[in-house]
Each structure stands twice: as C-alpha cells, then as structure tokens.
C-alpha cells in the first residue's frame, strides 16, 4: 500500500552517511533513490538543484536497496558518493527498508512532497523525462511552489519511473 495524497507521512529517523541521524520534519521532500539505477542518477542533479533552490524545505534522499545483492548501494558506496559529489541534502540509509515500505515506495527515484503538517501533497517522478535536463524537476518544483503558497497542488500524482526498489528476499 502506498501513502495516499492528503495522508500523514510516517515519521522516521534514519542515519546519513556520517552516522548522524535525521528525523522527518515538514515541509519536506523525501526521495527514494540509489547509486546503481540509471534513472536515479539521471535525475539526481535536477533534484539536488531543487534542494538548493528551496532552502526552507528539508530534502531527504533515502536509499532503501538491499546492499547484499546490490553492493553499489552499500553504506560505504553511498559515503564515497557523498564525499565525491556536492550533496545539498542528507543521503540516508534505510537498512531495514521499513521507511520505504511505510511510504509505499516502488522505484528509484520516487518523490514524495510533504507539507508543513507532514501530509503528502505530491508523489511521483521529478519531471516528465529523465533524458531532458532542461525540465529541471518541474513537477517537483510546481508541487513545492503550491505547498509553500498554501495552495492545492494541481498535479498531485504522476507515475514514478525508475528501477524497482530492491527488496530483501
């Protein structure tokens, strides 16, 4: 079951790549993402740009993938990526996969926009085309603009496109 539009998001506290814990607080963007998926990588810079452009919104990148079967998603691989790149948001490890399950995340990336009360206002893809960087995560930005203005999100749901979340067997 996925979180429905208007429903309160489940609370979480997850460690980042340095071991510091981060708890959910709205308004927020929770992006389930990873290292090994080409869709997640293609959209990463656009999501990171949005994080820089919305300093009043907390962005959380959450990697829920089974790192035993997908070693490129290990905590060490996540740490290396954060060290080598400029991340404007914490990269969190969902080792138990409980957060991904509670949100109903299906893919990487899978974007959830929460308002100040922690209610889901947008869920889906960052924008319409992973190949077109000029789109600049427009669906995510439209949702954030509406949430911050206290307005209804015109397009509250889109189909998340990406690699399946790699659940433990």
């Amino acid at each position: 079951m996925s979180l429905g539009i208007g429903e309160p998001a489940p609370d979480f506290t997850l460690p980042d790549t340095a071991g510091e814990e981060h708890s959910l607080a709205g308004p927020a963007v929770v992006v389930f993402t990873c290292n090994h998926c080409p869709y997640a990588l293609a959209w990463h810079d656009r999501i990171a740009s949005a994080a820089r452009d919305y300093p009043d919104v907390r962005f959380y990148a959450v990697n829920p993938n089974d790192a035993e079967r997908y070693p490129r998603d290990s905590l060490e691989a996540m740490r290396q990526r954060v060290e080598n790149e400029d991340w404007p948001m914490p990269y969190l490890r969902d080792e138990s996969q409980e957060v991904a399950r509670a949100f109903g995340a299906n893919t990487t990336p899978d974007v959830f926009v929460l308002d100040a009360d922690g209610r889901l206002r947008y869920r889906g893809a960052p924008d319409a085309d992973h190949r077109d960087s000029s789109l600049k995560a427009s669906w995510l930005r439209e949702a954030l603009d509406s949430v911050l203005a206290g307005e209804e999100v015109a397009r509250p749901e889109t189909d998340p496109i990406g690699c399946s979340v790699k659940w433990r067997r």
Binding site: P38, L41, R131, I161
Partner: protein, 104 residues
C-alpha cells in the same frame, strides 16, 4: 548478423531499447531479427554474463563494454551518453556505430 537484446523486467527501459534498436537497424538497412532474451534470476544472469538491463549484443559482442569488475546480476545498466549524461539506454550513436561496424 545476430542481434540480441537481453533484458530484465525490473528495469522499465527494455521496450524503449527494443524500439531504438529496431529503428537504428531499419535506418541502417540491416535486415536482422532481434532475439529478445529475458533474464529471470541471478544464476541465469551469471551464466549469460549479463551486466544489466538492457544489454545489446551483436554477433555475441556487447555494443558497449561493461565496466571491469561489475557483477553479473539482475540490475539496471547505467550507460553514459556521448555528452556525458547518465542514461538507462546506450547512446544511439554507439548503437549505430556497432551495427555499421558489423554490417561492413
């Protein structure tokens, strides 16, 4: 010329990969049937030396050499386009070049 598309259902890119492959084959005037091979488990991935979905082989050779040390497993393959972007599909020009070199 034998043309194979190896794919795994956990990646949504294979329909687009097949369409792209058939388009470039047609544009290059190559009359070759694409053999689609679904990879269903890790054992088959290892046996087929499958570095991720989609993988395109022409006459048995991968059109883009996989990175050394990458495991053979059920995963989505990360390609780089010629302008350096990450992509779930090979650059169409890499595909075209591989087809031309075999067709020559």
């Amino acid at each position: 010329m034998t043309v194979e598309l190896l794919w795994w259902e956990g990646c949504p890119s294979h329909p687009e990969a097949l369409a792209e492959l058939e388009r470039v084959l047609c544009e290059e005037g190559v009359d070759a049937e694409v053999s689609c091979v679904e990879i269903e488990d890790d054992e088959q991935a290892r046996r087929e030396r499958f570095p991720g979905s989609p993988t395109i082989r022409i006459d048995g050779e991968d059109i883009v050499s996989p990175a050394a040390g990458d495991p053979f497993s059920l995963t989505c393959r990360v390609y780089r386009t010629r302008d350096g972007r990450f992509s779930p599909l090979p650059d169409p020009e890499d595909l075209r070049e591989a087809i031309r070199s075999r067709a020559a």
